[in-house]
Symmetry: C2
Subunit: 332 residues, 2 copies
């Protein structure tokens, strides 16, 4: 079977059908410049009749102004990035921009390759997660004439725009909370901190605050792989095998914490009396568990929205701190 590669209707054909010049059609379609109501009607009629769909490839090339926004995110399965994309995509749509994306799997080298390939589309902006990029990535981005937005992190020096919150502070706040509640033998269960540098920053802040408070971290279990509910469960199991006398555990995020929570349920460990659990992200699921999670809620959708807004209005370089909110649940 063969496919209909009928050449699409072009603006020139519309112009001819409407009996006007090409530029007139262009003006009418973009509602820019002047034209009479009569011509507009004629043009629109022709557009309708022929089923004309403007070719943005050509339009972009001619006007040198791209309406593409490139997202280079570590993962799509991670609800965090899905939320950011969702927030951004509605704002972008409303402003006639298009989202293009690529997934790095938390690999900086892949990020570099993907940024290169994205830049070939001459996007209006490139959106990245966090501050940790290869030299090559930074060089390319600097050389490109597009906006750069670093998302979900503000602990560092921004290349251009940055929208998010301080992961380091989030770690500190979590530690404060636990100390305040008189937990004293605290452990940590996390995933690959080298790759997820934002989790690394939270961990660092958490440990600093614990130490400053006189109750340094007792033990930790760090899984080399990605964050997941399963790894959280496994991590807590291992941690408790080594250090059964912990009274609280900080998880690298809510997914991991949920795994820990399941482990406790399965083993009959009562929460929080025997063991307190503290997470990060404030996922919806943590509000539906039999005991709502103690965690930190991050403004993920808002991060996407604000980032998109700044790009759309071509705002000056700046760092926007959206903050976060500590949720006092029932698990710690």
């Amino acid at each position: 079977m063969d496919f209909k590669y009928e050449t699409a209707v072009t603006l020139a054909q519309v112009a001819e059908a409407a009996g006007v010049g090409e530029s007139t059609v262009s003006r009418v379609l973009r509602n820019h410049g002047s034209f009479s109501g009569k011509t507009r009607d004629r043009v629109m009629a022709a557009v309708e009749r022929l089923g004309y769909v403007p070719n943005r490839i050509a339009g972009t090339l001619a006007s040198a102004g791209s309406r593409l926004v490139a997202f280079v995110v570590p993962s799509l399965s991670n609800i965090v990035f899905a939320d950011v994309l969702r927030g951004a995509s509605s704002t972008l749509e409303q402003n006639q921009h298009q989202a293009v994306f690529a997934v790095t799997d938390y690999d900086p080298a892949r990020e570099e390759a993907l940024v290169a390939s994205m830049l070939a589309w001459r996007p209006a902006a490139v959106m990245l997660a966090g501050y940790e990029h290869t030299q090559g990535t930074v060089r390319m981005l600097r050389a490109a004439s597009c906006r750069i937005v670093e998302l979900l992190d503000i602990d560092g020096v921004a290349l251009d725009l940055a929208v998010g919150f301080s992961n380091h502070d989030a770690g500190c706040r979590s530690a404060h909370y636990l100390l305040q509640r008189h937990y004293g033998r605290i452990g940590y269960v996390g995933h690959d901190l080298e790759r997820d540098t934002r989790a690394g920053k939270r961990y660092a802040g958490f440990c600093e605050t614990l130490s400053a408070g006189g109750s340094p971290l007792v033990d930790r279990e760090i899984h080399a792989g990605a964050s997941s509910v399963e790894n959280g469960r496994l991590g807590l199991e291992r941690l408790l095998t080594r250090s059964p006398d912990l009274d609280a555990v900080y998880f690298s995020n809510d997914d991991m914490a949920l795994g820990g929570y399941f482990h406790c349920l399965a083993r009959g460990i009562s929460i929080p009396s025997q063991l307190a659990i503290f997470g990060y992200n404030g996922l919806d699921i943590g509000r539906v568990t039999p005991q709502p999670f103690s965690t930190i809620r991050t403004p993920r959708v808002a991060t996407g929205q604000v980032a998109a807004q700044l790009v759309v209005e071509n705002a000056p370089a700046q760092v926007v701190d959206l903050g976060f909110e500590l949720i006092e649940g029932a698990t710690a």
Copy 2:
């Protein structure tokens, strides 16, 4: 502060710097046609020196062959679509294609608008969820000279390519399983079936099989909103208030089922002896709960991969049934 809108380096500049013609540079860059090793080195050196990044906008316009693939998905927060995108995006990348996306929020009218806007990029293919589209959407897609891929559903007539599995059959299989296990008073908890038509097909198949088996559905609770863990919990609570004597409940998917599971945990309802729970999707999280979920695992990532592969190789129109797998967990 102002931004560096330095005009980017063009192929012509590279050609000049390398002392060769434009087409030679083009050939070298695309590794197509013939050129000497010497010239290749000269060209590559110039590319490197100038930091040249090819402009795909121009390239696409000139070659009339787009390497964009447009995804119009109902939701990104739903892990199902994130998985499909993930599967597709790696395959696409390997073949120098780019994914563009837009989110419909399960609204057919938005789908139509977004398809129109996507078509303006002259994509090589448009990927959609399922078969239910507005007349306008179908007309536009038919008129466009691009491949159309309908994902995650094969219960219907495909426009061009379709990759997925039968949701209707999945519903039937689930019912069979429950009947076989001698559950007899069966209920259903679901979300908006009008919008999520695939869930609707499962529901239909499920009910048919139950009736045929002599144990028609006893009661159902359908939440008007989207699927979520919270709505699953709420739904089960309501259902049990009305029909406390059910012995099994089928959920529209694992997210909803997880909510139901949490409800049981919170209320001390023992699973599966007091109440059996059956889900759909086979999410990872369902394997980590204290009792692994009884559910149906769907090939989401594979759906994305296969769809991308077919597009890349411009395969003839066809329907690919990837099937599904029933997982005998501990909840039913």
